[in-house]
Symmetry: C2
Subunit: 278 residues, 2 copies
């Protein structure tokens, strides 16, 4: 569906997605040729909304930077996202055979290569960011790495523990760690590229966290079409009405923050993350 011109996020996404895809393809081409590169490319370059890289670029522009300067950071964030999906899909974690209508990396290339492809993408993401040679580089690496070791990874551990008998899952904590922290890092990285400091970075972080929560709640609502007992689903735990209300509240907070920052694109993206129009 072509973007409506009244939808700033849709126009922004249509403009940037081809450049993001090009930058992702040229980054993965640095991985040594063969099975490993193919597995990385399958995990990184498939169909996807590119929500996280778009957040990086939009956050950079929100603070007055140039989107193009933030492309290396956008690539790195998407590579970290792809690494985490490849590892989460492995048999010892979620054991998923399909993602976005395609076979997962380990189904096509075997478990060992999938494990190694995830490792390569994580290292490539952080290394490329360090290589960017800009003043913001070290802080961006540290922030993206921290979103991984103190966000994505412990979030996945909590998610596993929540599935054990007698577990009392802190769902908000799981969602914050597994989804929110990388969205937050995406926004902060964009802000760092624009030379942002202090309170503007903090506003972007809060925006990203709420957008991440809204995004995850929308996922739970969509998954509900295939209902079943799932202690890590907000919908299953709190019911449909409470999930909708929590999602709307998170969107409202994110929109308010985007307005403070004066960014129509970020405001539209927050709506779209929950109502999925992007």
């Amino acid at each position: 569906m072509p973007p409506s011109l009244s939808d700033a996020a849709g126009v922004f996404a249509a403009l940037w997605r081809p450049r993001i895809d090009e930058a992702l393809a040229s980054s993965v081409a640095r991985v040594p040729e063969g099975q490993l590169r193919e597995a990385c490319a399958h995990g990184l370059l498939g169909p996807g909304k590119r929500l996280r890289p778009l957040l990086v670029l939009a956050s950079c522009e929100a603070l007055g930077g140039k989107g193009a300067d933030a492309l290396p950071a956008a690539v790195a964030v998407e590579e970290v996202h792809a690494f985490s999906l490849i590892h989460d899909d492995l048999p010892c974690l979620d054991d998923d055979d399909e993602r976005r209508g395609r076979p997962t990396v380990h189904v096509l290339y075997g478990e060992a290569t999938a494990l190694l492809a995830g490792d390569a993408l994580l290292a490539l993401a952080l290394g490329t960011l360090a290589d960017a040679g800009a003043a913001w580089s070290p802080r961006a690496v540290a922030r993206l790495a921290e979103a991984t070791w103190s966000g994505l990874v412990p979030g996945q551990v909590l998610d596993l523990e929540a599935r054990l008998p007698d577990a009392r899952a802190d769902l908000e904590e799981i969602h914050l760690l597994k989804t929110g922290r990388l969205m937050e890092a995406a926004c902060v990285l964009g802000g760092l590229v624009a030379g942002g400091e202090g309170s503007s970075l903090e506003s972007l972080a809060l925006y990203g966290r709420d957008l991440g929560l809204a995004f995850q709640l929308a996922d739970d609502l969509i998954d509900a079409e295939m209902p079943g007992e799932d202690p890590t689903s907000w919908l299953w735990v709190h019911g449909r009405e409470a999930t909708l209300a929590a999602g709307e509240a998170a969107v409202a907070r994110a929109v308010a923050m985007a307005e403070t920052l004066g960014s129509q694109v970020l405001s539209d993206m927050a709506h779209a993350a929950f109502h999925r129009r992007v």
Copy 2:
């Protein structure tokens, strides 16, 4: 065995190992509490020679830097080493139940947690290095990341492929990637901390590569006590005499390079890497 005073590397190791272990413990304490941190700590803090961190410190001092300044880099290199061991030991790769006389991480904590602990250690390593806030930080991150995505990881892929029927393994390439590239990065990182440039960094890289080869050949010779068909063992492919000769030649090249750099410690370390248990 206490170090002999005539052995500069032994004295150096005895001096620095406690400080390295302390720095490793304080780094892993940043991982969120629980199973994840315990799994990371088990993989990182067990008994070990700490050869790679010692190489970082000795290389830094060889170029006139202070060893203490290189501790963050030493920690990062050991964390990358630990990440690679945890993942290599997983059932889908080498399926090893024991390492250095202790159960491997996945045996104690399960496959999922071991996978995630490896991920956390890789992200922690690169993030901590970026956080060091020194002028050498970005180059050090980029170099260590590259040793991972274009060294350790593709080396492990080649190693897997070498075990397939009809494979023609390029053993030297496998050893260089799996072992040499991280040793090389360790030495270069030490040099970067000391403010080294150009030819002195290149000398450290060549030294590290040869030391890595010698170290790996010694491993092959030691493993020969449990003989068996192994297309990735120099010993099995080329025989004992040729393996000894190749190891001695690599040590000689590394020692010559250490002498050019004027470092008795690096010279002794090259000897020790090959003759340790042979």
